[in-house]
Symmetry: C2
Subunit: 230 residues, 2 copies
DNA sequence: ATGTGTGAATCGGTTCACAGCC
DNA sequence: GGCTGTGAACCGATTCACACAT
């Protein structure tokens, strides 16, 4: 008999689970055995209704009048997120950013060990970064198969990002995290997330600009008083 | 008289403008003077209806039956995004990531020159990273005022991220980009964006996991277990 | 004929508000 | 009394579909 939750967890909820989880890890160290949606909401920077709704997608793991058992919730959440085992990753591109990512211990610590590094530049191949040898991008298929890597991180210049994505997919990668400032496409079956630093700054620039237009001109200073603590 | 669009641009649209703009920049180099919503959509990785709706918030800059004038649209978009002048930024925290960000030329190139670097570690103060001298975090108020910096980038460990945010705001910063794996809060009047690498990987891990649950049949996948960590 | 601009329909996500259980 | 779990209301964003301009 299969007991699998038939719940389809909304994307927006999935994106918040890691934040809840991190909050729970913090709390787990103190000897508080239970936590309320209100407290968890505050720690995660969202509101309590959202926490309850989100957690309800995982199952009814709370106790009315009491709250959620921290350790149990943490376990369920880790299980749901697939964090009960490590996910080795390969980083493609060892420029500034790739270098920093390779050296950043945070990945390995959090269950995503950097299992391989590749670059197209022969001058970089053979060097070691953060204790891992850089190999040639042509070797991707063997590397990925050998180390059973499913997640690829693109840290190359924009110009080659799409080509790298194609090669990662061809090599057997099924999840891609793209840091290159370029739009890339992957087959439907492949997960893709992007982190674009310049875009983030430009979004900030937009609101900065708005603020200045608003306060510089005609009569109403009108601060956009958004009281949403989301 | 100032010609000001009274339109309030939706947040989701704002987040896509930089991507459209980048696509337009690419196209502007070829000698194509106009572009259709369809073509722009393809380049930006969205659908054409969304492009048209998004652009309509900026104003009616297209011509029916023809498309959008690339240069004109580019100009309007840059203006709207506040990219007609530079926005100097300060980076706080010069660990691995801060270092990479400081060395990454992409920021300056895209209108966000790294005008200052600060760290709390006296051993780092006085050193130079990417041509900029590292100064002590205590000097933030003077640095920010002097260089007229409005955007602050947090690249510190999670533990001090909130404190740094508070100090940035106190120093006069009005936009914050947070790379620290921590939830931080800022006053309503301050813009905040976050980039959390571990969260991105965990989201990928979730979908990876789902895929495997789906394809592995009903039995437990039986994967090596590890102890829970952050 | 072609491709924009936009109301209307739809969808996904958030918030409300309260019934249900401890 | 306190706090979860969840339908219902609401809201923002996406998509549809077509009138309209060139």
């Amino acid at each position: 008999m299969v007991e699998r939750p038939p719940r389809r967890i909304p994307e927006a909820t999935v994106a918040r689970l890691p934040v809840y989880r991190r909050s729970l890890l913090e709390v787990a160290e103190e000897e508080t055995s239970t936590i309320s949606s209100e407290r968890l909401a505050e720690m995660a920077g969202v509101n309590a209704a959202k926490v309850r709704k989100d957690l309800s997608y995982l199952g009814s793991y709370g106790t009315r009048g009491v709250g959620y058992d921290v350790k149990y919730l943490l376990f369920q959440m880790s299980r749901e997120l697939g964090l009960t085992h490590d996910w080795p990753v390969v980083i493609v591109g060892l420029g500034n950013l790739g270098h920093a990512l390779a050296n950043y211990g945070g990945f390995g610590e959090r269950g995503f060990p950097v299992a391989a590094l590749v670059d197209a530049d022969p001058a970089k191949v053979g060097t070691r970064v953060g204790g891992t040898e850089v190999r040639h991008v042509d070797e991707l298929p063997e590397i990925v198969a050998e180390r059973r890597i499913l997640i690829g991180i693109i840290a190359t210049p924009a110009a080659v990002a799409q080509e790298v994505a194609d090669r990662l997919v061809a090599a057997g990668i099924t999840s891609v995290l793209n840091f290159a400032p370029a739009v890339i496409t992957v087959p439907d079956a492949i997960s893709l997330r992007k982190v674009d630093l310049a875009v983030e700054l430009q979004i900030l620039s937009f609101y900065q600009q708005q603020r200045q237009l608003g306060s510089a001109g005609d009569g109403e200073p009108s601060l956009p008083t958004r009281s949403v603590r989301d």
